[in-house]
């Protein structure tokens, strides 16, 4: 077994390993004057994917999307879409459409005319235009609003029209800039699933820009995590969540608890690391290619942590005595903030599997407990 080699994740979609990349971004960089928006990005996106560019503000994700749309010319590198080099192609010739964050609906045209605009520009016949516009409006359930002007629509309705307008030309790639950003929470959840359904139905490749990790997790087939103009990690949502490669990715997606350790024992099939601040050894049941005494982070996600009143693990492997510091009841689950011996606060979440009955004594503030986790639950992050 090649335990030391990480499986290659994030370079090819799981569903079609043989596929040619549909969008091939080759060493693209973009500078605005002295400011580097994109440093050097290479990405392969496959046909039918719903690919997310995820990152904080100023990470270059929107610039990359605008390069794909043709609004910005990259300072270096090439962009290839479906075998054609589109790097120098103006936006109106690209087989790509974009849904803007602000929706950018033409305020002086009705919903119908907005959707038909792209078809008119392509010289599609009147009859066909009418048909395709009607089909698209039916798909986004906006048929009843065809004669309205954009300023007579709500945010969610505008978003549907914008989606219809960008899909009606049957682009090879649809670019979406923060598609759910302007919607309230309930509408977001609804729209999220709807977007996935539409993508499924039409088979168009979607590239989504978002700063919202939850949105990226639920929507995407794969995610590229970006920071400071570079791609930090590419992978499926579960790759990114369960096997983050860097501290940045681990902390950007979800919550995580970190322990500052050094390697005590590095074997082929296990790793023992010592955390000085806690005077505690941690045991990992897989090998990692590191030398002894190497400094690293051991990380564990909150939901992987078990809390119990008594010690449950033999020999105290990956188990720590602690106190309940704070409790936040969230309905579906409870978040515990747990104080360790050295004062470090851990976050642990436990699902509320049963309704709490009165006889049961729940954990409460300042209770002495043990926290533990499986040897496989930890992630190693290099310093």
């Amino acid at each position: 077994m090649t335990e030391f080699k990480k499986p290659i994740v994030g370079d090819r979609p799981a569903f079609d390993a043989e596929a040619e990349p549909f969008i091939d971004i080759q060493g693209v960089g973009k500078k605005f004057g002295v400011f580097t928006a994109i440093d050097d990005i290479s990405l392969k996106i496959y046909k039918g994917e719903l690919f997310s560019l995820l990152g904080g503000s100023g990470c270059g994700k929107t610039t990359l999307l605008r390069i794909l749309a043709g609004f910005e010319k990259p300072s270096k590198g090439r962009v290839i879409i479906d075998g054609t080099d589109v790097t120098d192609m103006p936006p109106y010739e690209r087989p790509v459409n974009m849904m803007f964050q602000s929706y950018a609906l033409f305020p002086h045209m009705t919903v119908e005319k907005n959707v038909a605009y792209g078809l008119h520009r392509d010289g599609v016949s009147k009859v066909e235009t009418r048909e395709r516009v009607a089909d698209m409006l039916a798909l986004v359930e906006m048929s009843d609003f065809a004669k309205r002007k954009p300023n007579q629509l709500s945010g969610g309705q505008k978003q549907r029209v914008a989606l219809a307008r960008s899909l009606v030309k049957r682009p090879k790639v649809l670019l979406l800039d923060e598609p759910l950003g302007a919607l309230d929470k309930r509408l977001r959840e609804h729209t999220q699933f709807e977007l996935m359904n539409i993508q499924d139905k039409l088979g168009i490749t979607f590239v989504v820009v978002t700063h919202d990790q939850e949105e990226a997790m639920t929507l995407s087939s794969r995610i590229a995590v970006m920071d400071k103009g570079n791609v930090i990690q590419v992978g499926t949502p579960s790759d990114i969540y369960e096997s983050p490669e860097t501290k940045f990715t681990a902390e950007f997606i979800g919550s995580i608890n970190m322990f500052d350790c050094h390697v005590k024992e590095s074997g082929r099939d296990h790793l023992v690391a010592h955390c000085g601040a806690l005077a505690q050894d941690f045991y990992l049941d897989r090998g990692v290619a590191v030398k002894e005494a190497r400094q690293l982070w051991l990380a564990v996600r909150p939901e992987k942590i078990q809390i119990s009143r008594q010690s449950t693990v033999e020999n105290g492997v990956n188990e720590l005595p602690a106190f309940i510091h704070d409790i936040a009841y969230m309905g579906t689950h409870t978040i515990y903030r747990i104080r360790l011996a050295n004062g470090q606060i851990l976050q642990a979440t436990t699902p509320n599997l049963r309704r709490s009955s009165e006889g049961e004594r729940n954990l409460t503030w300042e209770d002495a407990v043990f926290v533990s986790w499986e040897p496989s639950s930890m992630v190693v992050l290099m310093k």
Partner: protein, 270 residues
């Protein structure tokens, strides 16, 4: 209801008086039968009749309206182009100089503008033989020169207030740049263009100083005629003319207001 303070009320009354008493007195005296403009001699509409007999004034008024309409139209065309260049072309060679020249007529004293245009026309006539003498053409050109600056500023501010992505969206949907200008930018600029046209029209109609510099024989605009008549003493037929112009302007403003209210209602009706 809270009692209104007498101070605020008197300020309001004073403000309205300040704005409207001169106009009202002008309208009032246009119905004066006395030849002396400041002495009330009984009600009469004879000055309106006399106004329409006065070919000098009628012709000057028609000329002024014609110059105003032509110069406003050209100002809008050139002003829109200048505004587009300022806010959509990004940085280009000589942008700073261009911005300066566009805004120069806004801050330049009219005498200077008039004088420099006169010198230009005279030396052009010497060099290329055009314009042949001074008259309607030179007045129109002069008016375009300064009105265009106002239009450019209005258009530029309308463009910077326009949602940026609209033009990009149109381009993304397959519109070539000129097509996008025609389909998206110009329709959305329509209010700014109308405002610019009206402003140019008014300023052209109003201008005395520049027109005096660049006019020639037989091309006296209305302000020039009125001004020269006033020097010989105000006659009530000018009051009558002013009343008619005020009436026209008031009607225009009321219509514009009604249209805007109608549009606003449509906008918020769901």
């Amino acid at each position: 209801m809270k009692k209104r303070s007498t101070f605020l009320l008197s300020v309001l009354v004073f403000g309205f008086a300040f704005l409207y008493v001169p106009i009202l007195s002008l309208i009032f005296y246009s119905f004066n039968s006395s030849r002396l403009a400041t002495i009330w001699g009984g009600f009469s509409v004879k000055w309106y009749g006399e106004l329409f007999q006065n070919d000098l004034i009628i012709n000057a008024a028609l000329l002024s309206f014609r110059i105003a309409a032509v110069s406003a139209t050209f100002s809008v065309i050139l002003g829109v182009l200048a505004g587009l260049a300022l806010s959509r072309f990004g940085r280009f060679r000589g942008r700073l100089a261009f911005t300066g020249m566009i805004t120069a007529p806004l801050v330049m004293p009219e005498v200077i503008t008039g004088l420099s245009l006169l010198l230009l026309f005279v030396s052009m006539e010497d060099l290329v033989g055009w314009p042949n003498g001074r008259g309607v053409t030179t007045i129109t050109i002069a008016h375009i020169t300064f009105s265009m600056a106002y239009v450019a500023i209005i258009v530029q501010s309308a463009l910077s207030g326009m949602e940026e992505n609209l033009e990009e969206a149109a381009m993304d949907l397959g519109g070539k740049p000129l097509r996008v200008l025609w389909d998206i930018t110009l329709p959305l600029l329509m209010p700014a263009m109308i405002a610019g046209w009206l402003l140019s029209f008014t300023m052209s109609l109003d201008d005395l100083v520049i027109a005096s510099f660049v006019s020639g024989p037989g091309s006296s605009t209305l302000p020039m005629v009125i001004f020269s008549k006033v020097k010989l003493g105000v006659t009530p037929d000018i009051n009558a003319l002013a009343t008619l112009i005020i009436l026209a302007v008031a009607l225009g403003v009321i219509c514009a207001g009604l249209i805007m209210r109608h549009q606003a209602r449509q906008k918020y009706r769901l």
